[in-house]
């Protein structure tokens, strides 16, 4: 399949697209460098810079839509970044329909969350620093979606990872936050390594990392190369987006402040993996095995997320697993390919609204309940928090896909598309997606009912819940409007808008009529929601009760953590210990608590050797014998 990709140079208004990255970056620099001097007004600068970026993004978006359909792209090369051998990397940006919708999502939802955070972080002494990191994140995320080559994408990718790590660990007084930050960091590194190696592979085989040149030349690669390349990109995407097998960090990342969970770990950064695959659609479409693997990852993760989400009692963790599961839907979409790329993007945008809505709602609940997160300790909050309740309800109905809220318009088509796969797998993936819809309805309803309805089960110190100030509820209302209306709006406009990116697609026939799928989806949703309402209407036990195999497994994250520990952590610890054994001193075993978890497991070993010169000399001699031996072995033909 020959595909030519050409991007038009940026001209007119669009030649200012670099400002989108520059504005939040400058603001972050000001906030972080001015220090205490900016404490009084710093947060407003943070909000203003993102809002300004949103307005600017809107202007660019409108001027892009004014262009002819074939020429809807603006590429801008700022400077020659690096040239090694035949590799040439531009510091270049690309504003096209796909980047455009992401820019609007990031800055639009980002502005609302920034505004909310002004209220949420009011009593936190680190508020200015928080906004500094937050702006840094926005700049990096915009660079990620605006780069015109994979190296620029990698820049943004690393940047958002860094900001995410800093923000998860923001409350270092909690040891769990430090551990969560570490976990997020390590799991992301696995993914990042995949992406980085993928980029080098691209360079080795195609000699370029520019999008247009890569996509134009994919057809020249052997299908094995495409498969390996795609798998590496998929590994990167799975790491960033919390997909199987790298999903475990995302729920732990909820240790960060709630606005962070809403912006980074729900609405934007975690969808970067979906962006990567959608952007690389030429690579993924070129190999059907690859597509099937993406679909499998998506389907498996969406079911896992639902099952685990149904067993959790921490309001933010339930939402986090639901994020994992919803991104599973998006992976399913991008894996299906063809017209489903646009569907995945629609779901991504709609999800950005309703998930941010619910996360901020959860933050509002916590704000009124002394940071209580256990849903068994809520109940009946609708009396005290009218606005939070109403807006959360909009998000809840949207995510479970009740027509005509946004989730219905974004999720239903993906389910239908899964049934359109050409072979028997249509039944498998179609039903997985349908089942997921039912389960989503169950666990989200459980969350909603236990929090806002039923009897009050507050702890002693929490007798007087209160509604949050307007600076927090107004963003909630705006996001709730998005949850209600965005789906329909997006579903009717986005597919055409994204045609220049994903190409035209032909209609497929589903194994079941669309109407049947549609009705099945609604029936399962209503069943799931009804079941949850019936079960949890009267509240729930305050302690976990003994449960069956499935529930126990779900409470333990389906044993994935134990698996990770056995397969990765243990060998890693042993490797480190073995190496530390060779290291001589300086491991003084003072694993320091205040120092944000300084020192690792391996630090427990105390001076196994004492730094004697003789032991150093011995190790050098051993090395020398090995090196000389290896050379002589080569010479005698034993090796090589």
């Amino acid at each position: 399949m020959e595909q030519t990709v050409e991007y038009a140079p940026a001209s007119g208004v669009l030649s200012g697209i670099w400002l989108l990255v520059a504005i939040p970056l400058v603001s972050a620099a000001i906030l972080l460098l001015l220090g205490k001097r900016a404490d009084k007004w710093g947060h407003w600068l943070g909000v203003l810079s993102v809002a300004a970026t949103f307005v600017l993004g809107l202007v660019f978006f409108i001027s892009l839509s004014g262009l002819e359909e074939g020429a809807r792209s603006a590429q801008q090369s700022l400077w020659d970044f690096i040239a090694v051998g035949n590799l040439h990397v531009d510091f270049g940006l690309l504003f096209d329909p796909l980047a455009g919708v992401f820019v609007l999502l990031i800055t639009g939802v980002g502005s609302l969350i920034h505004l909310y955070a002004v209220g949420y972080m009011e009593h936190d002494p680190g508020r200015r620093k928080f906004f500094g990191y937050f702006n840094l994140f926005v700049a990096a995320m915009l660079l990620l979606v605006l780069g015109n080559n994979y190296v620029m994408l990698y820049f943004g990718w690393e940047g958002v990872g860094l900001a995410s790590y800093l923000l998860i660990s923001f409350w270092t007084t909690r040891p769990s936050a430090a551990t969560a930050g570490k976990k997020a960091f390590l799991m992301n590194r696995v993914g990042d390594a995949g992406l980085a190696i993928g980029i080098f592979l691209m360079f080795a085989t195609l000699g370029t990392t520019q999008y247009d040149e890569v996509f134009g030349n994919v057809s020249a690669l052997s299908s094995t190369t495409v498969l390996i390349l795609g798998l590496l990109l998929l590994l990167g995407a799975a790491g960033k987006s919390g997909q199987f097998p790298l999903q475990a960090w995302l729920p732990d990342a909820m240790e960060g402040p709630t606005p962070v969970s809403a912006l980074i770990h729900a609405a934007t950064m975690v969808t970067a993996g979906v962006y990567l695959i959608a952007r690389s659609n030429a690579i993924f479409t070129a190999n059907t095995t690859l597509q099937t693997i993406v679909v499998c990852v998506g389907a498996l993760t969406l079911l896992m997320g639902c099952i685990i989400g149904a067993a959790k009692d921490d309001i933010k963790r339930v939402l986090a697993w639901s994020t994992v599961s919803q991104i599973g839907y998006m992976f399913l979409g991008v894996g299906l390919g063809g017209g489903a790329y646009a569907l995945a993007i629609i779901h991504l945008l709609a999800h950005g609204f309703f998930k941010a809505n619910m996360f901020l709602g959860a933050g509002s609940v916590m704000h009124g309940m002394h940071d209580q997160v256990d849903i068994r300790r809520f109940g009946g909050l609708r009396k005290y928090m009218k606005w939070t309740w109403l807006t959360f309800a909009a998000g809840w109905l949207a995510i479970i896909g009740i027509p005509p809220l946004s989730g219905y318009f974004s999720k239903e088509p993906i389910i239908a598309a899964a049934f359109e796969r050409g072979d028997w797998t249509a039944w498998l993936f179609g039903w997985a997606a349908l089942l997921g819809a039912g389960l989503t309805a169950f666990y989200m309803t459980r969350l909603f009912v236990l929090t806002f309805h039923g009897p009050e089960r507050y702890t002693e110190d929490n007798k007087h819940p209160h509604e949050s100030p307007y600076i927090m509820t107004v963003p909630l209302m705006l996001l709730a409007l998005g949850s209600i209306g965005a789906g329909w709006l997006l579903a009717t406009t986005i597919p055409d808008w994204l045609t220049p990116v994903f190409g035209e697609h032909e209609e497929h026939h589903a194994v079941m009529p669309h109407a049947v799928i549609n009705i099945l989806g609604i029936v399962l949703t209503v069943l799931g929601a009804g079941l949850a309402w019936a079960l949890f209407r009267k509240g729930t036990a305050l302690e976990p009760r003994p449960a069956g195999v499935v529930v126990t497994a779900a409470r333990k994250n389906l044993y994935t953590d134990s698996f990770n520990e056995a397969v990765f952590e243990r060998p890693g610890i042993y490797l480190t210990r073995a190496l530390v054994y060779l290291d001589n001193k300086g491991i003084d075993g003072l694993v320091n608590g205040i120092a944000a978890g300084v020192g690792g497991t391996s630090g427990r070993l105390r001076r196994l050797q004492t730094g004697f010169v003789r032991s150093y000399a011995l190790s050098m001699l051993t090395g020398a014998v090995l090196v000389v031996g290896a050379f002589l072995a080569i010479q005698l033909g034993w090796l090589a």
Partner: protein, 510 residues
């Protein structure tokens, strides 16, 4: 004996080295003839003047491509570039060495021979200004390094190795604080360095036996048309490589690095981390590219294994360190691994990207150690990691600079750490060494962890009772920090000019 001819000598080409050696000798005379009070000023002026003059002499030579004094020294693109780099990095290290305002009397002890802990020692620790011999010693070391990267025969290379090593052994012993640790480090460095030199020298002997000459071009020809046993060739190559791997701190010959880096006076650690690396890799590049390129298929896998081992050891052990200087030492070990990946590309890109990496890393590491000299308490530098907790709150500016340098070490984009790693990995891919790049990427991901942990420690931890304050740096240290940080940023954002420069220089003469 009538047919003995003096080799032709191009004094112009040797001028940079002659200036440094001459200035170092003058520096020793200054010690004798200048009154104690004005000695420091004179020595500092002399040292900077010599480096500046040598740098001008290098610039003048930038188009020279020749072999002179009977084939002992080669002045070519890599020589000129690396000599220039050594002089610039050396000047920045000298700024750290010359700092006298952070601590009374400077970072060096006044009389190293006084027994530690004696009455006299207590007296000198309090009020006597540091030894000014450090300047001529530093200049000798720099001169030796300049010769080392230019040496075109094995014996000259060995002599240069000793010329720059001996002053470094001495300098390591001269710390004002923690003198026992410093002396222990110096002794270790000396013993192990001599041990490694012996390997090198034995290798030279074997190669002489193999090639019948000690010039690199003799070896090159003998490799192409071997007349004698290949055992001599491979044995010699292995032993010479070991000598150089030791100086470059590659596993398993890196064992001295953490102890010596920790014990040496921090400005000397900075000098070693920046300049010794340049010198060692400069010589390694020349030996492998000029003398042994005929057997590249044979040494690539062995040295590749060493590179992988080095990256792993450096990255994994950096994670467990609790002392800032040891952490930076292991990071320097890991970086030696990345440099070796660039060397093993064995093509022009490999040469140019390795040279770029050396310069980029040199600036960053100088800035890093420069900041280490500033974080102090009553006992001198506070290098335990726990002591750095919450430093961002106490001294945001320095913590920010240090954070930036750490991000560069972690290879975060828009710092020179990213561009230089990208360059060597790109070169290695071109050279068909994809497996090294895979390991390189994985270990650099690992290695980012200890750095970012320190970042979190700096900014997000509460400052404890024991968090020391950052001393106000004098002009010299401030200048070194500004140069280091600015270079790290500039090479991360617009690396192209320097990369072009290394490209133009990437051709050895044989």
């Amino acid at each position: 004996m009538g047919d003995l001819q003096l080799p032709s000598i191009d004094y112009g080409a040797l001028l940079p080295m002659l200036i440094l050696f001459g200035a170092a000798c003058v520096g020793i005379l200054v010690e004798v003839f200048t009154p104690r009070r004005s000695r420091n000023v004179v020595q500092v002026t002399l040292a900077f003047g010599a480096i500046a003059a040598a740098f001008v002499a290098v610039i003048v030579q930038h188009n020279t491509r020749k072999i002179t004094i009977g084939g002992a020294v080669a002045i070519d693109g890599p020589t000129v570039f690396l000599q220039g780099a050594l002089l610039v990095l050396g000047a920045v290290s000298l700024m750290l060495i010359a700092e006298r305002s952070i601590e009374r009397g400077g970072p060096f002890v006044s009389q190293a021979a006084i027994t530690v802990g004696s009455q006299k020692d207590l007296k000198q620790a309090g009020d006597q200004s540091g030894a000014t011999e450090v300047y001529p010693l530093t200049i000798f070391a720099l001169g030796g390094m300049l010769l080392f990267v230019a040496a075109n025969d094995l014996l000259t290379m060995f002599v240069a190795l000793e010329v720059f090593s001996l002053p470094l052994y001495l300098l390591c012993a001269l710390a004002r604080r923690r003198r026992l640790l410093s002396q222990e480090a110096a002794l270790k460095y000396f013993l192990l360095g001599s041990y490694a030199s012996a390997f090198f020298l034995f290798g030279v002997a074997l190669l002489y036996g193999f090639a019948g000459g000690i010039k690199l071009s003799d070896v090159h020809e003998a490799v192409a048309n071997p007349q004698r046993s290949q055992v001599l060739l491979y044995g010699g190559l292995a032993l010479i490589a070991i000598g150089l791997l030791f100086k470059a701190a590659l596993a398993p010959f890196h064992v001295w690095t953490p102890d010596v880096y920790q014990g040496a006076p921090t400005p000397i650690t900075a000098l070693m981390a920046a300049c010794t690396k340049v010198a060692a890799f400069g010589a390694l590049l020349r030996i492998l590219y000029v003398a042994f390129d005929g057997v590249r298929w044979d040494f690539q896998p062995v040295l590749g294994t060493i590179a992988v081992l080095t990256m792993l050891v450096g990255a994994v052990l950096a994670i467990t360190q609790t002392d800032m200087k040891r952490l930076l030492a292991y990071s320097s070990v890991a970086n030696a691994g990345y440099l070796l990946v660039g060397v093993l590309a064995l093509n022009e890109e490999g040469l140019s990207s390795t040279m770029f990496y050396l310069v980029a890393y040199g600036f960053s590491v100088l800035a890093a150690f420069g900041i280490v000299t500033l974080v102090r308490d009553a006992d001198g530098e506070a290098t335990h990691l726990a002591r750095w907790a919450g430093l961002g709150r106490k001294s945001p500016l320095f913590a920010a600079a240090f954070t930036f340098i750490l991000l560069a070490f972690a290879g975060i984009p828009l710092t020179s750490g990213f561009t230089s790693k990208f360059a060597v990995f790109g070169a290695a891919i071109e050279g068909g060494q994809t497996w090294l790049v895979v390991f390189g990427v994985i270990t650099s991901m690992l290695l980012a962890f200890p750095y970012l942990r320190v970042v979190v420690l700096l900014w997000l931890s509460e400052p404890g009772e024991s968090t020391p304050t950052v001393s106000i740096p004098g002009f010299m240290t401030s200048a070194a920090l500004v140069i280091g940080v600015a270079a790290t940023f500039a090479l991360g954002v617009v690396p192209a000019p320097l990369i072009d420069l290394t490209r133009d220089a990437a051709q050895f003469v044989r």
